[in-house]
Amino acid sequence: MSKFLKFTASIVLLGAAWATNANAQDADAGEKVFHKCAACHAVGEGAKNKVGPELNEIFGRVAGSLEDFKYSKAMTKAGEEGLVWDHDSLTEYLAKPRDYVKGTKMAFTGLKKDDEIANVIAYLATFSESAEQAAAEPESAPAAAAVETASTAEPAVNAADAVIPEHGVHHLGREALPEEIAAWDIDVRPDGVGLPVGSGTVADGGVLYDENCAVCHGVFGEGEGRWPVLSGGFDTLTADRPVKTIGSYWPFASTIFDYVHRAMPFGNARSLSADQTYAITAYLLYLNDIVTEEDFELSNETFSEISLPNKENFYPDDRLEEPNFATNVEPCMENCGDGPAEIVMRARILDVTPDGDEENGAGGID
């Protein structure tokens, strides 16, 4: 055991990441990789179908064969033609889903690193009885030990040798390098500050959108199920049930670029290039009738031409002017109101948890 510890501790000290070893199929590491899938898939006890099918007992499953899940034609066909999920087929599918099953509706570009693929498969194997045991076991123990020792294995520094920076009051931290700032500072403002150089057309954006976004947001941005609606809703802001979308509500086009670039597609954020983001933004503007030509090209140069229709309808917080914010009023303490209190409204939902009545639920948390 002590030999083990020394071994893993030295790995930590050298900064060599255990997980880069292509042979190490580590179910624990795979659990983390699975975060990339979890937006669409559930696995484990009680797992249900989500955007994608549940993945229990995936080893030995004929592709596209769960009865209560609506697969693409392509996936069903692949199963009929004999595709069965095992270590090899999963490896190929997860590397390039759309190359391996042409026409699959799994809106996922694929895992780039071999060890991520190996680890996530090892993780899935722990929920598959028929999976070869070999896949999961041997390497996980040392990896866990590495985690435990990491916090105690700090290299000692001679206190007098520490370099004290000159900046600031407490002389703590260090200067951020331009490359580091560039890596993180991706925000974009309405005045165009922060837009990267690049471009993309409505037509390109349509293709990207169908591949990466339509599963959740719908082919026309209408939103599948309860996933967010991205288009339409014009003239509904004073209606009983307003539909707030990019076209009907959002004040600035820069927000579309910024948000898609930083947070979408859900479960695989920061995977779109600047050009792809321009193209998808152009397409979202098109879906909202803000641009009308399919060959319209959005770029850092044409961006300032775009203005969203609801822009002028936002104003600063003025709550303090409401009558109920008066501060010098002593509230009524006795015989307030007309006659005794009577019920005018009751909770419409009595059993909200665990099996609430979905149909009656109204409002949202946004």
Partner: protein, 431 residues
């Protein structure tokens, strides 16, 4: 044998299980439901006293049994709960603090409600950095160890999601204060003033706003005016004495005292100083308040004065029948301390002062009590808080008159529970 922990989830607001729990019987005589023991005929010796229990006789687990302690199995029903139909997916969703199970002012770490937009980021503190860039003399990068070398402070603050009670704009809907008011927690944070970090980098005179950004896959970002950033914002790494919980932003989060929870960016990795707000998705598409004329308020940051009775409430009925009774609840305001809480048992016709007990701190929960002799008749229970600025918690009707039904956020209206003569409570609105 000792009694098993309750298996049924009797404490969720299910009318069926509630009635099956025996409240219809014996008009409010003692009921076995809440740690009370079964009703006994007068003169019968209580087996809780006369019988030898396992725990009287046999030794329990040793000090090595639970290196990190957990609550008693008899408290297994005290958990955060969610409402699945609210959102498309639990990865971008919310759960609620069980306010009706708590007392005092501090929310235990494991019960603080969760809201995240791309799941709980699992961040390795050794690989976490906080960057300050933009309009500063010197852009800086801090490790967690660097952060912990700055002067620290300890502060208790409430965090309330701006959408707390947001489902109730159109009328009473959810039966339980966990669901109507549970996007709320109150925690003692340990951290470094954001001001101290900004001074380390040196804010340029043109710097009027900051952008706070998270390291999670939603890249959560909010613009905050520099005055607030230099006032009381805290960059916190401990909650209630221990490291932040992953779902609360481990290893480091921003606290923006008194302002809406969405701004308290978790997994904080970057502060940018700029001359204008960024208008990101969470301050345009979301967290803007739609008014009846179709226009919308933006930058509605402060959380207004508010209170709620936590017991009795739909998930916490009165099971002891008439007699001496305690009404309790919490009050808070983003504008400072709570000056006073009034309680009404007749739907707002007459009010009495409640008693505030425990620390009274600015922008923190306050605990109030109102003790009275319940005669067993039906009541309409309400609480109304007044803060140190003199703002009075409004009625829901007053809010609707000013804002309509569609503003989602900032519903701080007075809550009514209808207490029935069987001790059951229901979420209602009264004239």
């Amino acid at each position: 044998m000792s009694k098993q922990p309750q298996k049924d989830k009797n404490f969720v607001p299910s009318r069926r299980s509630f009635l099956q729990g025996g409240l219809t019987a014996a008009g409010g005589a003692a009921v076995a439901a809440i740690g009370g023991g079964a009703a006994l005929a007068a003169g019968t010796p209580d087996p809780a006293i006369t019988e030898l229990k396992d725990w009287n006789q046999y030794s329990g687990p040793g000090v090595d049994a639970a290196p990190y302690g957990v609550p008693s199995p008899f408290e297994a029903h005290v958990v955060r709960r969610d409402v699945p139909w609210l959102t498309a997916d639990p990865i971008s969703s919310i759960n609620f603090t069980p306010l009706h199970e708590l007392d005092g002012i501090i929310t235990p770490n494991g019960l603080c409600f969760e809201r995240h937009h791309s799941g709980v980021a699992e961040v390795d503190p050794a690989e976490h950095r906080l960057m300050i860039n933009g309009l500063v003399d010197k852009p800086l990068v801090f490790t967690m160890q660097d952060l912990m070398r700055f002067p620290r402070e300890n502060r208790v603050y409430f965090l309330e999601c701006a959408a707390n009670s947001g489902m109730e704009w159109r009328g009473a809907q959810l039966n339980g204060c966990q669901f109507t008011h549970g996007m709320l927690h109150n925690v003692m944070y340990t951290g470094v003033r954001l001001r101290t970090l900004l001074e380390e980098a040196g804010v340029k005179p043109a710097g009027k706003w900051i952008l706070a950004e998270g390291a999670d896959a939603s890249g959560m970002g909010r613009s905050i005016p520099i005055e607030k950033a230099l006032d009381d914002c805290l960059v916190a790494f401990k909650m209630n004495g221990e490291a932040l919980r992953p779902e609360q932003g481990y290893p480091v989060r921003l606290c923006v005292p008194g302002w809406e929870g969405n701004m308290w960016v978790k997994w904080l990795r970057r502060i940018e100083v700029g001359d204008k707000p960024w208008q990101l998705r969470e301050e345009t598409s979301k967290y803007t308040d739609l008014m009846p004329d179709g226009r919308a308020r933006r930058f509605t940051w402060a959380m207004d004065v508010k209170s709620v009775i936590t017991n009795p409430s739909p998930q916490a009925p009165i099971t002891h029948g008439r007699g001496h009774t305690i009404i309790t609840g919490v009050a808070w305001s983003g504008h400072g301390k709570i000056k006073r809480v009034d309680v009404s048992i007749d739907g707002g016709r007459n009010w009495q002062h409640a008693r505030i007990d425990g620390p009274s701190l600015s922008r923190s929960l306050h605990r109030f009590y109102y003790e009275f002799n319940w005669d067993g008749s039906p009541l309409y229970l309400q609480s109304r808080a007044i803060d140190e600025q003199g703002y009075v918690q409004p009625t829901k009707d007053a809010l609707r008159a000013a804002r309509g039904d569609n503003s989602i956020y900032h519903n701080n209206g007075i809550q009514t529970w209808y207490l029935k003569s069987n001790g059951e409570a229901e979420n209602v609105e009264v004239s």
